[in-house]
Amino acid sequence: MYYIDPHIHMVSRTTDDYETLAKMGCIAMSEPAFWAGFDRGSVESFRDYFRQLTEFEPQRAAQYGIQHYTWLCINAKEAENVELSREVLAMIPEFLDKPNVIGIGEIGLNKNTVNESTIFMEHMELAIKYEQQILIHTPHLADKYQGTRMILDMLCDDSRIDRSRVLVDHVEEHTVRHVLDEGFWAGMTLYPVSKCTPQRAADIVEMYGTERLCVNSAGDWGPSKPTAVPDFIFEMRRRGHSERLIRKVVYDNPLEFFSQSEGFRFTPPDLSGSQLADA
């Protein structure tokens, strides 16, 4: 089954991973800007990183037939440095017209602090000013519930935000309902240890349905599995769910969400002559 991974950090992965993902049916992916594992020291580090995301990674992906899109921001962890964050925010517009940029992200909260909240709202302003979609990181473990509620408060307090153009990521059992009830898209991240397993993600689909719900691997430099979306597909098949329903979550939904972005110039796979065309 062809699928789209809406959240994966390929700068941290090898070219072998691109090949494996292509063999497993990944036809497109989006890569949000994130934390490198250490705090970067200057705005120039981010400029180089954004060049990597907008110039180098799309080429690397294309060698394996994968369409690569990206989101730009300074992540929540480094947002604690307000001065640097504002320098990065001022530089981001240089890259918004690059052909694979589809929005601002992954912005969000990490430890739910004043500085993180301040920079989150400044990212919102940037997205509104440039009519960009937004991809949002929610915190980890004990901070997730509080941080997700805070993020929803900030978004819902601003009437200029188009909720259908915002995806709140890393939802789990205790946050997914809040995100969907407020009219946002929700992403489930499939991680081997934290966040969601493919089994629990399948449970959430069964409990909440398939509308505005996506799954992703968020494969990065830490414990993660870039082929987690196929694991989800396999789990759904084992349970007896239809191909049409599975495809809605792993292909149709990310396509519908991304298609709202001007930068999303997608070439669908040629399914002519395939049984899949009628499935």
Partner: protein, 86 residues
């Protein structure tokens, strides 16, 4: 959306996996008891015991309840406390 699998099918598929997870929990608590030092007053132990109690509850939202148990509380007055303004 109901699960396409019957309860019997779920049990058939997951019995050994559930058994293994319970065994891992039992072994972890044994390991704690065998180790030197006392942790019974550690708030994390209390949370773990509350989590075990939640598993005995009826309903289909145990996972959500366990998540909330291990979560920091949300205060809907947080923006005023942070003195945030747009």
């Amino acid at each position: 959306m109901p699960s396409p699998m019957s309860a019997n099918e779920v049990l058939d598929r997951e019995f050994l996996e559930l058994r293994a997870k319970i065994l891992e929990l039992a072994a972890s608590f044994d390991r704690l008891d065998r180790s030197e030092g006392l942790v019974q007053d550690d708030p994390r132990i209390k949370l773990l015991h509350q989590g075990l109690d939640l598993l005995q509850e009826k309903g289909d939202d145990r996972a959500e309840q366990v998540q909330l148990l291990f979560s920091r509380p949300y205060d809907d007055n947080w923006q005023a406390k942070f003195q945030l303004s747009r």
